[in-house]
C-alpha cells in the first residue's frame, strides 16, 4: 500500500516535470533536495511535524526553494508536503528519478563523493559503470562528506565501495 502511494506521488511529480517540459532539470533539483532532506534532521522534522500547519510547512518550502529552484520544483515539493507526505518525500523523489531513467531505458547510479566530480570524471565513471553493468547508466552525484575520500556507487542493490571511510572501517575492524 505504501509502495503504491509512493509510486502514485512519483508519477504525479514526473507528470508535472514533463508538463513543464523540463524533466531533467526538475528531477535533478528534486534529487538534490532529497539528499539535503536526508542530511538535515532539522529540515525533515520541520516538514513532517503534524503539529505544524500544512500552510506553514508549505511556506517553509517556499522560503527554502523560492528563487533558488525552478517554480515547478518548488510547486511539486510544496504539493507533497501540503498533502502530509513530507516524511516520504525522499522515497517519492527517488521513485520519480528511477522511473524517469527507466523511461529513457537507463539505470540510475547513485554516486557518493566528498567532493564534486569533474565532467571528465563523471563521463569516465559513467562509461566504466556502463561497461561493468552492461546497462545505460545515469549518474546521480551525492556530495557526502562522511565518505572522506574516494567514491561509493549504488546501482539498485549493488554497492561498489572505494571510499576512504570504508577502508578506515576495515582498519577499525581489523584492530578490534
Amino acid at each position: 500500500m505504501a509502495d503504491d502511494r509512493v509510486a502514485g506521488y512519483a508519477a504525479a511529480v514526473l507528470a508535472v516535470a514533463r508538463a513543464e517540459d523540463d524533466e531533467a532539470g526538475v528531477t535533478d533539483e528534486l534529487f538534490r533536495f532529497a539528499q539535503a532532506l536526508r542530511a538535515s534532521n532539522e529540515l525533515r522534522v520541520a516538514l513532517t511535524d503534524a503539529a505544524v500547519e500544512p500552510s506553514r510547512r508549505q511556506q517553509i518550502v517556499e522560503d527554502l526553494l523560492g528563487g533558488r529552484a525552478r517554480p515547478a520544483t518548488a510547486a511539486v515539493v510544496s504539493m507533497v508536503v501540503g498533502a502530509g507526505r513530507g516524511g516520504q518525500l525522499p522515497e517519492i523523489i527517488d521513485a520519480a528519478v528511477d522511473r524517469a531513467a527507466a523511461d529513457r531505458n537507463r539505470t540510475v547510479a547513485r554516486v557518493r563523493s566528498a567532493v564534486e566530480l569533474t565532467p571528465d570524471q563523471r563521463s569516465r565513471l559513467t562509461a566504466a559503470l556502463r561497461s561493468a553493468t552492461g546497462a545505460d547508466i545515469e549518474v546521480r552525484l551525492i556530495i557526502d562528506p562522511s565518505v572522506i575520500g574516494g567514491v561509493i556507487t549504488e546501482i539498485g542493490d549493488d554497492v561498489i565501495d572505494g571510499s576512504v571511510r570504508s577502508r578506515l572501517s576495515q582498519m577499525r575492524a581489523g584492530l578490534a
Binding site: 563523493s113 566528498a114 567532493v115 565513471l125 566504466a128 561493468a132 572505494g162 582498519m171 584492530l175 578490534a176
Partner: protein, 239 residues
C-alpha cells in the same frame, strides 16, 4: 458298640430267665406244707384215715410221726437240690455256648473297634501333632525369612542412604567445581571483554586520529587521484 451291648444284655437276660424257670418246680415240691400234705395223703391211702392211725398200733403212729419229722428237717446249706443243679448247669452251658458263639466275638469286635478307634485317635493326634509341628516349623521358617528380609531391607536402606550421601556429596563437589569453573570463565570472559574494549577504544582513537590525519591531508589533488583510481578500478574489475 451300643448295638453290641444291647445284644449282650439280651443274652444275659435270656439265660437268667431260663434258670428261674427251671428252678421254680423244685422249690415248690420241697416246701414243708407240701411235704406234710403228701404224708397225710399217703397215710390216709394206707390206713384209711388219720383216726385209724391215732387209734391203731403204736408203731404206725411212730412211723407217721417220723415221716412228718422228715418234712420239717432242714435242707443242706452247701449242696443245692439235684434238679436245681441240672437246670442251673444247663442254663450255664447254654449261656456259655451263646456267649462263646456270639457274646465273646461281639465283645472282642467291640474291643477291637474300640482299640482301632483309640489307635485312629492316637494316629490323628499324632498327625495333628505332626501338622502342628510342621506348622510351627513353617511359621518359624517364615519368621526367620521375615527377620532376614527385614535385615536385608535395613541393610539396603543403609546402603541406599550411604549412596545418597555420597551422591549428594559428589554433586555438591561437582557443583562447587562447576561454580569455580564458571567463575573462572566469567573472570576470563571479563578479562577478554576488557581487553577487547580497550583494544576497540584504542583502535577508535587510532582510527579517529587517522581520519583526522587523512582528512587534513586530502587536498583537491588527492581527491582527484582517489576518484580517478576508483574509476580505473571499476573499469578494470568490471570490464
Amino acid at each position: 458298640m451300643k448295638r453290641t451291648i444291647r445284644l449282650l444284655a439280651a443274652a444275659l437276660g435270656t439265660g437268667a430267665a431260663a434258670v428261674l424257670a427251671g428252678a421254680s418246680p423244685a422249690g415248690a415240691a420241697e416246701t414243708i406244707g407240701g411235704c406234710v400234705f403228701e404224708k397225710v395223703i399217703e397215710a390216709e391211702e394206707t390206713y384209711g384215715s388219720l383216726h385209724t392211725i391215732e387209734n391203731g398200733p403204736k408203731d404206725d403212729l411212730e412211723k407217721f410221726e417220723d415221716g412228718l419229722g422228715d418234712c420239717v428237717e432242714a435242707p443242706s446249706p452247701i449242696l443245692p437240690e439235684v434238679d436245681e443243679i441240672i437246670w442251673g448247669g444247663a442254663a450255664f452251658l447254654i449261656l456259655l455256648a451263646f456267649m462263646t458263639w456270639k457274646g465273646f466275638p461281639m465283645v472282642k469286635r467291640a474291643m477291637d473297634a474300640r482299640a482301632d478307634k483309640i489307635r485312629a485317635d492316637l494316629d490323628s493326634a499324632d498327625q495333628a501333632k505332626a501338622d502342628a509341628q510342621r506348622t510351627r516349623s513353617e511359621y518359624e521358617a517364615r519368621l526367620a525369612e521375615a527377620r532376614e528380609e527385614a535385615s536385608r531391607i535395613i541393610e539396603e536402606a543403609r546402603d541406599r542412604a550411604l549412596r545418597l550421601e555420597r551422591d549428594l556429596q559428589a554433586r555438591a563437589e561437582a557443583e562447587i567445581a562447576d561454580q569455580r569453573a564458571r567463575a573462572a570463565a566469567d573472570i576470563e570472559a571479563g578479562r577478554r571483554q576488557a581487553v577487547a574494549d580497550l583494544r576497540s577504544e584504542v583502535s577508535a582513537i587510532a582510527i579517529g586520529a587517522a581520519e583526522r590525519v587523512v582528512e587534513a591531508g586530502l587536498d583537491t589533488e588527492r581527491h582527484r587521484r582517489l576518484i580517478d583510481g576508483y574509476i580505473d578500478e571499476v573499469a578494470e574489475d568490471r570490464g
